[in-house]
C-alpha cells in the first residue's frame, strides 16, 4: 500500500514540476497575499494628501496646520487660492482633504467668538477618511495649549475655543456600500471578461478546432475582434444588471453623466477582453488560461483600491496597482457614480486605460500566429 502511495505522490510531484504555472500560483499568490495582508496593507492610512485654503496667516493658524500634519494623517501638498480650485482637487481625487481657514479665524478666536475651521473630506472610501477626522480635533487642541499663553491662557481647555466643521463629501453617512458597489463593477467585469476570452481561444486549441480555423482564410485581427465582440455585449448586460441592483437594492445611484460612465465602462471592458485574448495566446490549454486569469484577478481585487484604501498600500503595491486596468476603472466609476465627476476629472484614468489597451492589443496580435509554427 505504501509503495503505491509513494508512486502516486512522486507522480504528482513530477507533474507539478512540469506545470510551472501552477507552481508559480502555489507560491506566488500566498506570498503576495501574506505581504499585503501581513504588514503592508494599512487600513489606517497616513500622510493623505491635503489641500489648505488659508486666508489667515498667523501664529495660531500655523500651529493648527502643523498640528494636523504632525498627527501623521495629513500631508499638505497643495495651497489652492480659491474654493473652486480646492473643490476640483477633491473631485479628481488628487487630495483626500481640503482644510479651509477663514480670514477672520484668529481674530474671532482671540475674542472668544467660536472660530471655525472647515475640513472637507472625500468620503467615497469611508475607511480612509475616518481616523484622520477623529484625530484632527484633539491634535489641534493639544498643539494650541502650548501657544495660548498670557492673556489667551483662559482659552485653553475650553471646548468652544474653536469649532471643527467636518463635511464628509460624496458619502455623508460614511456608508461602506457606497464605496463597495461601484468597486464591485470593476471586479466583476475583470473576473468574467478576462476569463471568458482567455477560455474562448484556448478552447479552440484544446479541442483541435484551431488547426481547422487556421487552414481557412481568416486573419488574426478578424479572429481577435470576432472573439471579443460577443463578450462586449455580455459585459454590457452585466453592467446594466449591476447598476440596476445598485440603484434599487443598495440605493446607489449614478451621480454624474451616464454617458461618461458608459464610455468608461466600454473602454474598460475592451481592455479586459484584450488582456484575456493575450492570456489565451500565452497559454496552452483552458486550465492554464484559467490560472493566468486568476493571476490578473487577484491583484485586481487586492491592489486596485477595492479591498483596501489605495493610499494605505505601500508604495510598491501602489505602483503595481497603477499597472492594473481595474485600478483606473475603479477611480472612474467612483468618480462618476459618487462624485459626479466630469470628463476633465477622469481624463488621466481614461488615458491610462487607452494606453493599456494599445500595449496589450499589440502584444496579443504579435503573439497570435497565422501558422502553427
Amino acid at each position: 500500500m505504501w509503495a503505491r502511495l509513494v508512486a502516486i505522490i512522486l507522480k504528482e510531484l513530477q507533474q507539478l514540476r512540469r506545470d510551472r504555472l501552477t507552481f508559480a500560483m502555489m507560491f506566488g499568490v500566498p506570498i503576495m497575499q501574506l505581504l499585503l495582508f501581513g504588514y503592508a496593507i494599512d487600513t489606517d492610512p497616513h500622510n493623505l494628501p491635503t489641500a489648505v485654503v488659508s486666508a489667515d496667516d498667523t501664529q495660531i493658524t500655523r500651529t493648527i496646520l502643523s498640528a494636523l500634519q504632525t498627527s501623521g494623517y495629513m500631508r499638505v501638498v497643495r495651497h489652492p487660492t480659491s474654493e473652486a480650485e480646492a473643490n476640483a482637487l477633491l473631485q479628481n481625487g488628487e487630495v483626500q482633504f481640503v482644510v479651509t481657514i477663514p480670514s477672520d479665524f484668529t481674530r474671532r478666536m482671540v475674542r472668544g467668538e467660536r472660530a471655525q475651521i472647515l475640513i472637507d473630506a472625500d468620503a467615497t472610501d469611508p475607511l480612509a477618511a475616518a481616523n484622520p477626522l477623529v484625530a484632527a480635533k484633539p491634535a489641534i487642541e493639544q498643539a494650541l495649549s502650548r501657544d495660548l499663553v498670557g492673556p489667551l491662557a483662559p482659552l485653553v481647555g475650553r471646548p468652544d475655543a474653536f469649532d471643527l466643521v467636518i463635511q464628509r463629501r460624496y458619502n455623508p453617512e460614511g456608508k461602506a456600500r457606497l464605496n463597495i458597489v461601484p468597486g464591485l463593477l470593476a471586479v466583476i467585469l475583470t473576473m468574467t471578461m478576462v476569463m471568458m476570452t482567455a477560455l474562448a481561444v484556448t478552447r479552440e486549441r484544446e479541442r483541435g478546432t484551431m488547426e481547422n480555423l487556421l487552414a481557412m482564410p481568416v486573419r488574426p485581427i478578424e479572429v481577435m475582434i470576432g472573439k471579443i465582440v460577443p463578450y462586449i455585449a455580455i459585459g454590457a448586460v452585466q453592467v446594466l444588471v449591476i447598476l440596476i441592483i445598485s440603484r434599487f437594492l443598495f440605493d446607489v445611484a449614478v451621480e454624474g453623466s451616464f454617458g461618461l460612465l458608459t464610455a468608461g465602462t466600454a473602454l474598460f471592458i475592451t481592455v479586459n477582453l484584450a488582456v484575456g485574448f493575450t492570456i489565451s495566446t500565452l497559454t496552452q490549454n483552458q486550465l492554464q488560461a484559467m490560472q493566468a486569469s486568476v493571476f490578473v484577478l487577484l491583484p485586481s481585487i487586492l491592489l486596485s483600491g477595492f479591498m483596501f484604501p489605495f493610499r494605505g498600500m505601500p508604495v510598491w503595491a501602489q505602483w503595481l496597482g497603477e499597472g492594473l486596468p481595474a485600478t483606473h476603472f475603479m477611480r472612474i466609476v467612483r468618480g462618476v457614480m459618487l462624485k459626479g465627476a466630469g470628463l476633465g476629472d477622469i481624463s488621466v484614468e481614461l488615458f491610462a486605460l487607452i494606453a493599456m489597451l494599445l500595449v496589450v492589443s499589440a502584444l496579443a496580435i504579435s503573439r497570435y500566429r497565422v501558422t502553427l509554427d
Binding site: 488547426e211 480555423l213 487556421l214 487552414a215 481557412m216 482564410p217 501558422t371
Partner: protein, 308 residues
C-alpha cells in the same frame, strides 16, 4: 499535365530535430496520391507545410501555382485541408458548422450549397443534430463535406479514415474518387494498405525522408524484395524464430501461413533452409506485398537516420 503540388526540398526542424528532411513531391492535377509512412515520420508536418499552416525552414515550391510561403492566403482559398482530429465544432449542429465554413470563405448561394452538400452527405434529415453526437464515420464525412464546400482544387486529407469501420471507409474512398474524377487533386495520408492500393500513386516517407514514389506495382518492383510463403501445420509459429534471422526483413503470420521476405534472395533462402526440410511444410515463392516493402523501407530509413 500541370502539377497541382510541386514542392522541392522541404525541410522542417523543431529545435535540433529534423522532422521533414528535403522532401520533394510533384502531384499531377486530378490524381489521388497516398501518403504513407510510420507514425511520427513527418506526414502531418509535410501536409501542413503544403497548405500553409507551417512555414518551411528550407525548400519551397508551389501549390496550385501559388508560392508556398508568399501566397498562403491564395492557397488557403483554393485548398481544403482535413485535420487528423475532428476540427469542426462539436457544440454546433451539422448545418451550423457548414454555415460557419461557408461564411468564412464568403460563399454565395449559401443556403443552396449547404442543402446540396447535406443531400450528398445523406445528412439532410439530421442537419440540426449536434456534430458532437455523430459517430466517427459520420464525423469524417461531415469534415470532408466542410472542406469541399468552397469547391477547392486540392484536397489535403490527414488520416481521414483512422478508426472508421470498413464500410464507412469504403464509401469515404468512393467519394474521394468521385472528387478526383471532377478534377480535384487529392493528397491523403493513411496507414491502411488497402487504401494505399486505391490510390493512383503512393509516396512513402519515413524519418522525415521520402523513401519511395510511384504506383503500387512500381514500388513493389523497385524494392527488389523476394518473398516466400510457407503452408502447413504450425507454419505460422515459425514467425518469431525467423524474424531476427540474417537476411530476413520481415516474417509474419497470416492466419495459419507464414510470410517471409528479404532484400537478398540468397540470404533469405539460407535463412529458411533449416525449415525447408520439414516435410510437413510446403514453401512457395510469392509476390512481396506493399506492407513488406514499407517495413523494408522503414528499416532502411532508420539505418540512414542512425548513420547521420
Amino acid at each position: 499535365m500541370a502539377l497541382a503540388i510541386d514542392v522541392h526540398d522541404l525541410v522542417k526542424r523543431y529545435g535540433s530535430r529534423t522532422v521533414v528532411d528535403h522532401v520533394s513531391l510533384g502531384i499531377g492535377q486530378g490524381r489521388v496520391c497516398g501518403f504513407l509512412g510510420p507514425n511520427g515520420s513527418g506526414k502531418t508536418t509535410t501536409l501542413r507545410m503544403i497548405c500553409g499552416l507551417l512555414t518551411p525552414d528550407g525548400g519551397g515550391g508551389t501549390c496550385l501555382g501559388h508560392d508556398l510561403v508568399r501566397e498562403r492566403d491564395a492557397i488557403k482559398r483554393q485548398a481544403g485541408y482535413m485535420t487528423q482530429r475532428f476540427g469542426l465544432y462539436e457544440d454546433l449542429t451539422i448545418r451550423e458548422n457548414l454555415e460557419f465554413v461557408a461564411r468564412v470563405y464568403g460563399l454565395d448561394r449559401m443556403k443552396s450549397r449547404i442543402d446540396q452538400s447535406l443531400e450528398r452527405l445523406g445528412l439532410a434529415t439530421r442537419q440540426h443534430q449536434l456534430a458532437g453526437s455523430l459517430s466517427g464515420g459520420w464525423k469524417q464525412r461531415l469534415a470532408l463535406a466542410a472542406c469541399v464546400l468552397h469547391e477547392p482544387k486540392l484536397l489535403l486529407l490527414d488520416e481521414p479514415t483512422a478508426g472508421v469501420d470498413p464500410k464507412a471507409r469504403r464509401s469515404f474512398w468512393d467519394e474521394i474518387h468521385a472528387y478526383a474524377s471532377e478534377g480535384i487533386t487529392v493528397l491523403v495520408s493513411t496507414h491502411y494498405m488497402d487504401e494505399a492500393e486505391r490510390c493512383h500513386e503512393i509516396a512513402y516517407i519515413a524519418y522525415g525522408a521520402l523513401m519511395a514514389r510511384g504506383t503500387t506495382s512500381e514500388i513493389i518492383q523497385q524494392s527488389g524484395l523476394t518473398a516466400f510463403i510457407a503452408h502447413g501445420p504450425d507454419a505460422d509459429r515459425l514467425a518469431p524464430r525467423l524474424r531476427d534471422a540474417p537476411g530476413v526483413t520481415a516474417a509474419a503470420a497470416f492466419g495459419t501461413t507464414l510470410h517471409v521476405c528479404g532484400p537478398d534472395r540468397e540470404a533469405l533462402q539460407r535463412a529458411i533452409q533449416p525449415f525447408r526440410d520439414d516435410p510437413r511444410l510446403t514453401w512457395d515463392e510469392a509476390e512481396p506485398t506493399l506492407e513488406d516493402v514499407f517495413i523494408h523501407l522503414m528499416g532502411q530509413a532508420r539505418d540512414n537516420a542512425l548513420e547521420d
